[in-house]
Symmetry: C2
Subunit: 403 residues, 2 copies
């Protein structure tokens, strides 16, 4: 199944050094001539999926089958040239892997690429591939897209089959992708979503005022021209508070439910292997182990509240706009105590799509001091094609501007 | 300061591969002609002390000075031939290091050597050196001595200066040593204790009945001939319950206070470095982080109770005998959930000396199915020389028996 495996000139530390995988694309197809990479949680038959952790790698056999999402891309003509570094078992939002190093953020040197789809974002941003596969459970496509200046989609939960990937928290896990060019981004989307459906343009826009307040003032200001453009393209907008009682309980539900599912997924392997994790990753699992059933019940109830709220403010035909991340990419090597606070702020902005299963696209439309920051659009469930098509419109209207 | 560094033929994985240190002994002295190794928490000038963790190693500079205990041994004529593998930052009682592997237990193949002074015990048991330095905070000399069939002493707290070692929990940390031969064990003791004092033979013996009940029945039975011998050497004995209200609070105080001190020692470095630990080690630190001040106050009160109880049953001239460990060395690679229970049972037997600062010596006097098990003697504070001299008597009386 795998062909010859050329050496990638990877100055970005985006690719796994010990996990090559080369799958030549079909001769013809809509993605013919394009190259891509996949986060090292996607199975490729005959290769061990590393999951960003050396002990995961040595305790697993080579995959029997290639992940569905990889297969359809190769069948559509794209050539997979390698596997990319991921945060350990997708646990992380910044992209610092203590075992394999931090992939370079080509758009923000000295700063993290974002995670957990760190290597996939780095490889695309650095021009090593045309597009790449990632996964998004709590923000792992959206955040690296914002930090690295890329297009990135967290699709509607369940739209892209998860078979053949290392799962984290199944009721939140999604497969997403990155590209620099909106046209390529859209072509890949048609293959992964298996859809040529043309959805109606958005008829309503909600500007989530409280989400913009979570972001650094400089980020909110940098995004303003793009927001104005989106308003003009949709035709009108409503500014409102997305979480009238504050985002704190929304963040809490994401942390409780995602963590609990993550612990349930991993606990037997951890008990058996006693794996080496960076301290931060163990901390996440151990916090999850202590979550009570009562906390889970409360969090599920909050999750319903989020779904109801979004159904109310974002019915069919309406999209919500908000900053993807509260800051540009932070510098590498910061203290854990600093990162904990940052991670919480990030989750404040990512948890809405996670809780509701709605699709969210991040558009690389602004910079703060030369560092990319993304604008996000959340759509109704199954409005993935509509979001992508609208992203093309925005990109086209922005072309005179240079980012 | 360091000389040439010959390659050690180490089939036991006892020595650090990436941390050599060779210090030729002085030409004359009481230890002239002997070789030793030191756990990789002892500083040797010009070498980075690894502490059993690769991230500790890369974030520390070479030591400026050589640890006091290493210096006095070299000055006394012993040649240091290398540094030995330790559990990460001395956190562990079994000797399985996820980064550097598990040193072989030459006396019990397929089983752990005990930790955290794992490589030091392995090197001595396998005959690679005459003796070795370890440290004992919660049992890290006594347990490997028992598992590997060696003499090992946890000295009176404070007897051997701790300068130049990686500390864990200062109010429990001690430096100890291992030897196969009781005479060598005693000669090393004179140097490390800086003492030629001859202390009176023990006049009283307490058999800690409840401690024998903690051990496997086979262990208690295997130790019986040695206990009978000790009784006959002392002349008479008292059998009693050491912890009338049970060992549970004694174990709890050790876990609370040692863990809390361990966390206080390490937390700033952990926050800064986000180090890779095996899951078990992070679990220990994170459990400690959650310990409340009220728990500390309660534990300190229990510690006083242990001290008072030991003062009552073990006054000057009296020693206590108990099994060093509840089982022979367990097999390698067991599940964390299994090991947690075992570790608690082990602490039940090690916590008395820890809480009281009393010296405890483990004597390799028995076997269960061919696996070594040690008998321990706890003495009054500063009765180290007396315990060592009495160990020589026991060894001499046991000589007709073969272990």
């Amino acid at each position: 199944m795998t062909g010859s495996e050329p050496i990638i000139d990877d100055l970005l530390n985006a690719f796994c050094k010990d996990s090559t995988a080369h799958l030549p694309g079909s001769a013809t197809g809509p993605l013919s001539g394009l190259t891509f990479a996949a986060k090292d949680i996607f199975d490729v038959a005959g290769h061990v999926t590393g999951g960003g952790n050396p002990d995961w790698k040595t305790t697993h056999d080579p995959a029997q089958n290639t992940a569905w999402s990889v297969r359809v891309l190769v069948d559509a003509g794209a050539t997979m040239i390698g596997k990319t570094i991921t945060d350990e078992l997708t646990r992380g939002i910044l992209g610092e892997n203590s075992h394999y190093g931090t992939p370079v953020n080509p758009r923000a040197p000295g700063r993290v690429p974002g995670g957990s789809s760190s290597g996939s974002a780095s490889a695309v941003a650095g021009g090593l591939v045309d597009f790449s596969l990632g996964s998004d459970t709590g923000g792992s496509v959206r955040i690296p897209a914002s930090f690295c200046g890329l297009y990135g989609l967290r699709p509607t939960h369940g739209r892209i089959p998860l078979d053949g990937i290392v799962l984290q928290a199944p009721s939140y896990d999604t497969i997403g992708w990155f590209a620099r060019e909106p046209e390529i981004f859209a072509r890949v989307g048609k293959v992964l979503l298996q859809s040529n459906v043309v959805q109606a343009r958005p008829r309503g826009l909600v500007i989530a005022e409280d989400a913009f307040e979570v972001a650094d003032k400089a980020v909110a200001e940098a995004l303003r021209p793009a927001v104005d453009l989106v308003v003009s393209l949709v035709g009108h907008s409503t500014t409102l508070t997305l979480a009238p009682a504050g985002f704190a309980p929304w963040v809490e539900q994401q942390q409780v439910l995602q963590s609990r599912e993550g612990w349930e997924t991993a606990q037997d392997w951890i008990d058996q292997v006693n794996p080496r994790f960076s301290f931060r990753v163990s901390e996440g699992y151990l916090t999850a182990r202590d979550i009570s059933d009562a906390q889970v019940v409360a969090a599920k109830s909050v999750r319903e509240t989020v779904i109801e709220r979004m159904d109310a403010v974002c019915p069919e035909g309406t999209i919500v706009c908000l900053p993807t991340a509260p800051t540009p990419a932070p510098t590498t090597g910061q203290r854990l105590s600093t990162l904990r606070n940052l991670q919480r702020r990030i989750t404040t902005l990512t948890c809405t799509a996670g809780a509701t299963g709605r699709p969210q696209i991040s558009l690389p439309v602004a910079e703060v001091d030369g560092l990319p920051v993304g604008l996000s659009l959340i759509g109704p469930v199954d409005y993935d094609e509509g979001l992508i098509a609208f992203a093309l419109e925005v990109a086209s209207a922005l072309k005179p501007l240079t980012f």
